[in-house]
Amino acid sequence: MKILGIETSCDETAVAIVEDGRFVRSSVVSSQIDLHARFGGVVPEIASRAHVQLITAVIAEALVEAGCELSDLDAVAACHGPGLAGALLVGVSAAKALALAADIPYVGVNHLEGHLHAAWLEEPDLASPLAVLLVSGGHTMVVAVEDHGKYRVLGQTLDDAAGEAFDKVARLLGLGYPGGPAIDRLAREGDARAVSFPRPMMGNGFDFSFAGLKTAVAYHLRGAPDSVPADIAASFQEAVVDTLVSKLLAAADEIDAPTLVIGGGVAANSRLRERVLELAASTGRQAFLPPPELCTDNGAMIAATAWWRLRLDGPTPLDSGADPSLTLR
């Protein structure tokens, strides 16, 4: 069964075709393809959130790469929340139009559930329950995953997401965008013990708070403008990673999870990956770290989740819309 999945909740216009909820036949993300060539010289404002200008080209590219026609598809899925209302509607409308045209089911998928499914996409036999740390620019949470469709959010950020803290500290240090990879690189040359930044809410429940840490870095730089940037990057990164790892461990202990999983853009951070592997080894658990292309926003996670949702709930009615504030239930 081939499902086309569309993801337009934030910056990326992404489309993938996944077979039987697990075999990725194609996965196209707008920032990765040469749209200038596709548009034959007429270049839309690619940097903006102009999903509407990109969606048709990205769908076509995903079909071509998978060697599919519209008539080969068995269902069409789109992320219907959480996210930006206007952006979500582009994906949802495109998916419904395709579903109507091809007379196949439409499935609306929760963006966060999609991220949780990214792990199964790569490794379908993970031992449950899973303790999942989902960290990106927009989200930071620990989730107990018992099975497909059975999730419990144990804790989440009360202010800034971890990825956002990375980007803002990168800005304070005068590093480029995106800030996450820039800090990751610079931190390798720095001393993580140079500055003892706070570990907010560590040892205190499952929720996160990173606004105070960001402010602490700002204070430090105001007081000591000659600080070595690599030391600040390393010390800051260590504070974030310490907090993330401790919450993941607390969650795993709480639900007695044999498997640790990370997802979201920050899951590409090399120090976090290293520490999660160490944590798994030292506590006798298995760790699963999906490849970066499955950690960041993509259409494959939407198509894979849709395969399970279709089995659990059936198709989503065509009169259902998008929900910018959708939560994980």
Binding site: A211, K214, S325
Partner: protein, 160 residues
């Protein structure tokens, strides 16, 4: 009007004192450096308007909407580089509705801002890094008639 808030808690309390003055359609424009208190202020505002969900930073996700006694639309234009992107966000529809609209880094929007709005600017106090100096600048006729109310609401706070 300038107020000194000695802690994040005080910044939340200041916002909560202003909350009861607000009506649907009001726009608050928040300005100030990273970590100066813009999201903290919005949290206090939300609490005073009966928002129970945690109010988190919308920097990456751009727009958060919260139901409450009055709904709050929380926007952050920090990542946007062109005014066209603010249009793409549906800014005009967001500010035209029944919700209270809070725009972080909104001071850069210039001509896109409605004439009626409350500017809230946050600065680090030069003498103490924990203290913020918060400036409240009402703009437009709907705020002109509320200046006395606003002055009364913040009278319990230390003048900056």
């Amino acid at each position: 009007m300038r107020i000194r808030t000695p802690s994040a808690e005080a910044t939340r309390n200041l916002a909560a004192a202003i909350g009861p003055l607000l009506a649907g359609g009001d726009v608050l424009v928040l300005a100030g450096d990273l970590g100066a208190g813009k999201t903290t202020f919005t949290q206090g505002l939300g609490a005073s308007l009966g928002v129970t969900a945690p109010i988190t930073s919308p920097t990456f996700t751009l727009v958060h909407e919260y139901p409450g006694r009055l709904p709050i639309v929380h926007i952050d234009v920090y990542r946007l580089e062109h005014l066209q992107e603010v249009h793409d966000l549906g800014f005009d529809e967001l500010v035209g509705g029944d919700a209270i609209v809070v725009v972080e880094w909104g001071d850069v929007l210039g001509p896109l801002l409605p004439p009626d709005r409350l500017h809230v600017a946050f600065e680090y106090a030069p003498d103490d890094e924990n203290i913020r100096v918060v400036s409240l600048i009402p703009h437009g006729p709907t705020w002109a008639i509320r200046v006395d109310e606003l002055t009364a609401a913040i009278s319990g706070f230390e003048v900056g």
